[in-house]
Symmetry: C2
Subunit: 331 residues, 2 copies
């Protein structure tokens, strides 16, 4: 009998196709989809020597051609940094000026770098840069939400191979985020607990969906994982905003992120994936019901008409089996 | 200045990247992605002569090898038709037995048929079959929602070329659908109007986003279209459930659906797409605030980390320009 599981964070249901589930190795990236990349690519706008191909740099770590990280405006920015977020209401047509931030953080000078194989110090610098830029953008009163994400590979929506993340500052709170906040508040009303803290405690006690556990972070496959190898990395400490992360925690997250992505890299032959930092804005002081986390979505299967039409997903893998596969993997 | 537009049906925002928008022809399907298909394929489980390759047939239109439509259970059904929808609640782990319907409607005996080029009578039979099966499944008290959808092409999530639709009966009301109903109720509370009727009236008055208009149906590109050439087909008559469609309206919908898909087929070189019938269940008697419709989503661009992390979309086309392109297209 298939099982329909509810994701308590979103209240969305996922069909876990238990009876026709595929074994974990089935989801491995076919060899023909895996590219061997050079460490430098002549035409890559993110490679050293081509710095003039990006819009003027906002910040860099390192100096001269020896830089380690570069933050630049997105050349094809979907939001304009100048202006005010005026709202227009004309009957059922409602809009707001598209102001905001849309930036690219180049994660390494090496064209073929991958978080799965980077040094801990490099990943620590990357996470610190996320935090610093989140803090800076948060001083802009026009911005309601900062979204930090990464697209790895063509199926994940990027055509640029050179490793990079993106940082977006939005002048509105998206409905999806607001809806999750409301669900978390309701759970807090009903139980006096943060739903994320509750999920984490239950997952640690159960153990069957855990991938990596360290002093401050835990990576695991959610009970109602929406697609094969969909993973969450939760901080153990209850903090609602990513920018509240401490230096110790950054180092620990660098380790857990690398271990988790390395298990994906070696276990499934470097599949395409997205990750996103889900965090409330900086401007709330103390929030009992929300908890930031990082969500990783390998782009192994495709969303079809059923998902579009219902908002539900059909997952053809077993979360417990996938987690065990990654947990047991020696890397 | 880019514009962030709100979809009043979902309350979700879409970034319309006005300044870097691509012209309509840019979204044309590359020739190397378009396959010329034979009318019969030896190994296709949906082609005549291979009827034994599907699970036992539920229904067919026509007789012998001369059938026009076949309804069969999905061989890889994600739900089990037997059983009761028991709920289990174990802390934060909540589930329900995966019972329900998961069926395939084979749309033609021809492997290379396409709604864009079918005869009106054939499409009328197809829509009538949707309606009949929706009505039958609705007599099963375990079912809360019927979802009818079509995946056309690999990017739309199907590996089977032979034209087919799918019909799913769910034992739960998905959160996404419930959330839209709540938004529509709130709009009705605030204005005394059905939000869909309001949108349709405004679109007809404005005209800039209309593609095809007939006696009973209108196809148009939504004001806050989430991706290039995302389209809606609305019935003019306010009915909340698809099964309330009359025979006259079915004939008219067959025409509007074909014209709209033909414009996509000829205008953009047969791109992959999904469509879904968004309808409330049969068991409500009369609902003032909801309105069924058909949504078409060409799979031209990819969803990336930003969309996953915010629920918002970035649309790199202008709805008005895309609609004009399709409207002016002579087919």
């Amino acid at each position: 009998m298939p099982e329909i599981r509810q994701n308590l964070v979103t209240r969305e249901w996922v069909i876990i196709a238990t009876e026709r589930a595929q074994r974990p190795h089935h989801f491995s990236n076919p060899n023909e989809c895996k590219k061997e990349l050079p460490s430098w690519e002549e035409n890559c706008p993110f490679c050293p020597g081509n710095e003039h191909l990006t819009p003027p740099e906002i910040w860099r770590k390192g100096s001269g051609s020896e830089w380690e990280l570069r933050l630049v405006p997105n050349k094809y920015a979907s939001l304009d940094q100048e202006g005010l977020p005026y709202r227009k209401i004309n009957g059922v047509k409602r809009s707001i000026n598209g102001i905001g931030y849309h930036e690219v953080l180049i994660e390494s000078a090496l064209h073929n770098a991958s978080i799965a194989t980077m040094k801990i110090n490099e990943i620590k610098s990357l996470i610190t840069a996320y935090k610093e830029r989140f803090l800076q953008i948060s001083t802009d009163d026009r911005i309601e939400l900062v979204v930090i994400f990464k697209n790895h590979g063509e199926r994940a929506g990027t055509s640029l191979e050179h490793p990079h993340s993106q940082i977006v500052g939005l002048p509105i709170m998206p409905h999806q985020v607001r809806s999750r906040v409301e669900e978390a508040m309701r759970y807090y009303d009903d139980t006096g607990e943060c739903v994320y803290c509750r999920i984490l405690q239950d997952e640690l006690k159960d153990g069957s969906r855990i991938i990596v556990e360290s002093a401050h972070f835990v990576s695991f496959i959610p009970y109602a994982s929406l697609s094969p190898f969909h993973m969450w990395i939760y901080p153990k400490r209850h903090i609602h905003c990513f920018t509240q992360i401490s230096d110790d925690e950054i180092e620990d997250l660098a380790f857990v992120l690398r271990e988790t992505l390395a298990k994906l890299y070696y276990g499934l032959n470097d599949p395409d994936y997205n990750y996103v930092i889900r965090s409330l804005p900086r401007f709330y002081k103390k929030i009992y019901y929300a908890h930031w986390y990082l969500s990783i979505v390998p782009r192994i299967t495709r969303v079809a008409g059923f998902e579009l039409g219902s908002g539900m997903y059909i997952n053809s893998s077993l979360p417990e089996e996938s987690a065990q596969f990654l947990r047991d993997l020696k890397i």
